[in-house]
Amino acid sequence: MTTMTIAKAINEGLRAALTNNPKSLLMGEDIGPLGGVYRVTDGLIAEFGPDRVVDTPLAESGIIGTAIGLALRGYSPVCEIQFDGFVFPGFNQITTQLAKMHARSNGNLTVPVVIRIPYGGGIGSVEHHSESPEALFAHTAGLRIITPSNPHDAYWMIQQAVECQDPIIVFEPKRRYWLKGDVDVEAPGRAEDPFRAHVLRDGTDATVVAYGPLVPVALAAANAAAEDGHSVEVIDLRSISPIDFDTVTQSVQKTGRLIVAHEAPTFGGIGGEIAARISERAFLSLEAPVIRVGGFHMPYPVAKVEEDYLPDIDRILEALDRALAY
């Protein structure tokens, strides 16, 4: 067991992937000598050389598009998109090409491309640096989307992403890059299914589902609720596509109440999808409507007011109060 930050865990996970798979390579802007703007790839170019840790031209469509070509030639590229808001120049390549290649080739071609995207707010940054666009990708069949919330998952999930034969986006909670935690670098980490949700805290009165940067917030809210005598179960979703509805359903059948929290705007978001599915699967167990806690229907606001935008402990507790009031 080793203690490290999420950023370091991803770094170590990438190092392991590059070591284990000679056909894997990293591509992105400033990922070479600089080690990426968040230093997630720090030191890797020195170890693996510029052909496997590739500083690319500043062009996101180019990064994704050439990664597709490399994958067609038998390689496993891991692309870094510098910030969430900068993925959109590559959106066409991701949605019209990468996601569909296996299907449109009748299963003849596979494109095992990994796309790493630091996402979410709370870092006081300028516009386009704090967004949560995961729903836009979750809506696209052919893609898988995972998001680790702690160093142990980060270490293993990035390696599992590289091994995955489907295209997969890893949304990395950038404001938690420096969150420290224990990482078990030996098995059974590898054996854990990256597409399964984890119940992090058992409870009986309500379930809070969160993922990525809001997992620690959900846990803190559950602790606060416990002081008021409410037993709250917390689930770390871990995978956004596919979503582990079985784990969420089982929890709601026990607690009868569900709150889904994410930084992304609630409208058209992952929370809405979970609410709809759970209303179908656990309708008779529900004591209250599923309540979503998320961003507002507006462009991500300026840094000085982002605290009013981002879901926090109190926003989750307020939703919990509403659910418990039914």
């Binding site: 062009a59 070509g69 067609l72």
Partner: protein
């Protein structure tokens, strides 16, 4: 060798072309790019200080083969158009007029090379031994691909314009890495070097992906040949809206050679593509070829060119027909006679009959194959939806067959 050293060869342009050249020269402040031409519209073979060497390697059999290929793909094009008119295909994308650009370049490729077409490269598909009946699957609506690219190194058609140019560069970057891996395990280098061709057109040249692909290719000296068929029309928009100078000139800005070739001259197209592929395979980086040609027919069978261009322009380009000029040359050089051309015509009719027969028999897929091919690895949502579909379908019959049930559901 750089673009500036390319020989100037005279191109028998129409008045329209002359006007374009004059305008380009005004923009550039110097003459526009020279046009490589070896076989003129009158069927006489010219000389070129660089590319005649490649043309001279062509024996009679190869030259006759070019003609047979061009005639076959034109006949196929006519048949596919007819099949669309008869409701057997949902859409067809005709290539007539562009046979030399496609056959010449496709025949310059080697089996180890990999080709990324757009969606009009039926002639290139022929040179890569793609079963032309399979090629019609996409247009009959029974597949989004239709052939396995691994069998022929001819990728699926790409309908989002220019997206494939980046795939081509990435693939070429993979070839570079393969060569490095091979160098360590196989110093003798028994694998023949490979290169990639990315096809696109004058319309797609405006897409950002073409720019990004050229930046990546140049930076990494990727072994890729950008083959731009300038057929003068992006559906209804003339090439003058995409560019004010020859598209081949753009290569200079990226730092690699650009060649403008008479795209209706199969011998010249073959020569410049062989040169470009050699250049790329030898590790010298990318090349841009602009094949100056013309889409004689409609953009697709849903298009109506009378809305946006004059028939006089089409007539002027028909006078530069790629098949007619090669036929003139083959006859005058004594390389082919009436019997040969009759045989080619009969072969074309046989191909057409085969395609017609096979198209009728193309199997309609089961939607279950779409469930199966969305992901490589098991996916719970797909499994859940498939299970629902099976249950739903079963409700329409007594278990007599779910195909019938699905059909009934669709009705």
């Amino acid at each position: 060798m750089g673009a500036t050293h390319l020989p100037a060869t005279e191109f028998d342009g129409t008045g329209v072309d002359d006007q374009l050249e004059a305008e380009a020269e005004a923009v550039l402040g110097e003459p526009a790019a020279p046009m490589v031409q070896l076989l003129g519209p009158d069927g006489t073979l010219g000389e070129d200080s660089v590319f005649s060497e490649y043309a001279n390697r062509l024996d009679a059999e190869k030259l006759r083969g070019f003609y047979a290929d061009m005639a076959a793909i034109r006949r196929f094009d006519q048949e596919a158009t007819a099949l669309q008119r008869q409701g057997q295909l949902a859409l067809w994308v005709p290539l007539t007029g562009q046979e030399a650009a496609q056959i010449g370049s496709g025949r310059a490729s080697q089996p180890q090379d990999y080709i990324f077409p757009t969606y009009r490269e039926h002639g290139v598909a022929l040179t890569r031994n793609v079963d032309l009946a399979e090629l019609l699957r996409q247009f009959r609506g029974v597949s989004n691909g239709g052939w396995n690219p691994k069998d022929t190194n001819f990728h699926l058609y790409t309908l989002v314009l220019a997206a494939q140019t980046l795939h081509a560069v990435g693939y070429a970057m993979g070839i570079q890495r393969d060569q490095q891996l091979a160098a360590s395990s196989d110093p003798a280098g028994t694998e023949p070097p490979a290169a990639v061709i990315a096809y696109y057109g004058d319309g797609a040249s405006s897409e950002g992906d073409v720019h990004e692909s050229m930046v990546f290719a140049s930076s990494y000296k990727a072994p890729v040949v950008f083959f731009c068929q300038n057929n003068h029309w992006a559906i209804s928009v003339p090439s003058t809206v995409q560019t004010r100078i020859p598209l081949s000139n753009r290569a200079k800005g990226y730092g690699f050679p650009g060649i403008r070739v008479d795209g209706n001259d199969v011998i010249a197209v073959h020569a410049v593509t062989e040169w470009a592929l050699d250049h790329a395979r030898q590790g010298n980086g990318p090349v841009l070829i602009e094949a100056f040609t013309y889409r004689v027919g409609a953009h697709t069978t849903a298009d109506d060119p009378t809305k946006y261009r004059q028939s006089a322009e089409e007539d002027a380009w028909r006078a530069k027909d790629p098949l007619a000029r090669l036929e003139k040359y083959l006859r005058s050089a004594g390389l082919a006679d009436d019997d040969y051309f009759a045989k080619v015509k009969a072969d074309g009719d046989e191909l057409a009959a085969y395609v017609r027969r096979t198209t009728h028999d193309l199997e309609t897929p089961d939607i279950r194959s779409a469930f199966a091919n969305t992901y490589v690895e098991p996916h719970p949502l797909v499994a859940e939806e498939l299970a629902w579909f099976e249950q739903y379908s079963a409700g329409f019959d007594d278990g007599a067959g779910s195909d019938a049930a699905a059909g009934e559901a669709a009705n």
